[in-house]
Symmetry: C4
Subunit: 215 residues, 4 copies
């Protein structure tokens, strides 16, 4: 690596700092989507309570978006844990990754505003899918540049992470596609597929164990 | 710890970075709840001053929420100071912790909007209580996994932190429960219990001293 | 320092992280105070340009608040550069410091909304003054606990920083007090005093040089 | 470096932390500019879809602003990678840099609001240009203070970074100037010049190679 290369070397710690900042802000901006019911300030409990309960679809979309952001943040973190250094390609993939992460409050807002129009869950699902695919492309690119990976990364580690990185975009793409047929079924698929992402630690570990010599 | 475990190892420094970001944003978003009085731009002082003073309940809830966030941030920090590494369970407990921290601006807004309806302080108190309980569950989980704790953590240290971690959820749960009876009494309980949290450093230290051999 | 003390030891790096987050957010929230002129989307240039120019007082208050935040951030940074460790007192002084920093967007908004009412610049000036005084009290407290200061901090260093830390609260208190007499004169005092804060590096250095043996 | 100098020494890591925070927030605030179409909640797909498509100019300005912020963030990062330490001059240039970065959501909002008035793209272009120039002045200042640069920075490295740092302000100034003639042409120039910034890594490397002895 000559001195010219160093000019364009981007410290991975600053990408992580920008990432943590963006995730923190998007997570907290989501709540601005949920407005206090428009009732007079002296409304009694019997009026306020039902108005609050009627907000439940917004709380559901808050939960779904927050948990999805959680998945993306964990995925981004796992990837950068395995990366030794960043380059300009990975940097710009990140900028576009952040662009679609920052779009999520709009997509959630759209989902809340128009429950009858299937364009709303389609837009939301497509947003999640694009975020997932950019994350997967980042990992694929890093995988094709072995000197970008940390020393502890083995071939089997790469396979396990690849499988995990593919799960979210596939789940969200299926969700977006099934929207054309039924929004309800689409949401059920998403909610069933995501927990898979939380669990594969043991599955992947077990599978990898079979291929590993005792040590 | 084999290489598979490392895949799912989440650096505690990134959880801390996300946490600091979320607390910073929620703390600063709170002020957006307080709107400048709606008067014409050429209003004289005799009109603006009383309108500003009439905002006092909003300033009180700003103070209460800000200080509560301070307690949670300190609690989170003390816990992570004692943790050596994070795992997936602790990570997802954190995501849910952040979800309820980010909900606080909404709860505060509700509290400001409907002073007559007890559902408002109940919702606010319940929000604080859930944040406190998740923090306590995190600590309980870490306590059950001794290899997750830093070397300097003694049995007596764990007991002291456990007692402290339990104080906030108990205080906020009591607050939320007493709401059914009287909102005023509920707030007084909260404001009396919280300062206990600021002080126990010396009490706990004194108590621990008795059990410690001279050194 | 026994193990009990460590429970309540707050890493200064996390206070710095929270501080940088809060300053970054308050600085960027300020612009939300300036709204695009309310004109129809097909307004020609001759209508938009004057409406934009008429916003100049808001741009002035944006500049003043942003630069003031710059001073407080620099002041906070210089102080923490000289601090070895934090304790609970310093932590809670910080939480209150952040509470008044986060209040600034409201104070700026008030200043923009009511140019005729002297309560507006008084509130704004008082807000700046309180921030400055809390910063000064933090420094005074740290100064009274010599084991909290870093090794490189000499008696003369402490005097120089004390003088600098006192300048902002004095300037802002004078500003707030002169508001009762004339808002214009009050602003002029503030704008004249602040640049002193930018320059004393050389003055202080020169003065200190006289007392220092050649080395 | 005597102890007086140290008082005013600002750690470059805290400037980087403030910078990452401000970029993260401005990037995420941009989406607040795009509002969900104002239609009744039970609007069918045939009404929502066209209303969403009609938002395309806002998505274009979101993309342009986001990518521009990406360029500035990368430029700021490259510069601080080459800087050993900050001083008060560089610190205050940064505060003004942040002031104009934080202004961008307003400029984007103006661009979206008044497509007919050339003052809008002029203001937007001027905002980008000022950000770029402040970044260039920072680099020029650092270049004139060789002890502020890291050891690995060679004369040729400085030339390459200088050329890169000059590209964005020149591109944005041309954009702003051409606005007087045609907004369309102005945007085309900007979109053609920016990709140059993404590519010069290889060009600069190739050119530098010619002057370098084989090693």
């Amino acid at each position: 690596m000559n001195s010219q290369a160093k000019i364009f070397e981007i410290g991975k710690n600053r990408i992580e700092a920008l990432s943590d900042g963006i995730f923190a802000i998007v997570m907290t901006l989501l709540i601005l989507e949920i407005h206090v019911p428009k009732l007079s300030p002296d409304s009694p409990n019997v009026e306020v309570a039902p108005a609050l309960i009627a907000l439940w679809p917004k709380f559901v979309s808050y939960l779904v978006t927050f948990v999805s952001l959680g998945f993306f943040w964990v995925g981004h973190h796992i990837m950068y844990h395995a990366i030794r250094r960043a380059d300009r390609t990975i940097l710009w993939l990140n900028i576009f990754f952040f662009m679609f992460v920052s779009l999520l409050p709009f997509s959630t807002s759209l989902l809340n505003a128009f429950p009858q129009a299937f364009i709303a869950p389609l837009f939301f699902g497509a947003n999640l899918a694009v975020i997932g695919w950019i994350l997967f492309f980042q990992w694929s690119y890093v995988n094709s540049q072995p000197d970008m990976l940390a020393d502890f990364v083995s071939a089997e580690y790469r396979k396990t992470v690849s499988a995990r990185m593919l799960l979210v975009p596939v789940a969200t793409t299926l969700t977006a596609v099934f929207c054309f047929w039924s929004v309800g079924i689409s949401l059920v698929i998403y909610l069933l597929l995501l927990p898979l992402y939380m669990l594969p630690g043991k599955l992947a570990g077990a599978k990898a164990q079979r291929f590993k010599p005792a040590s």
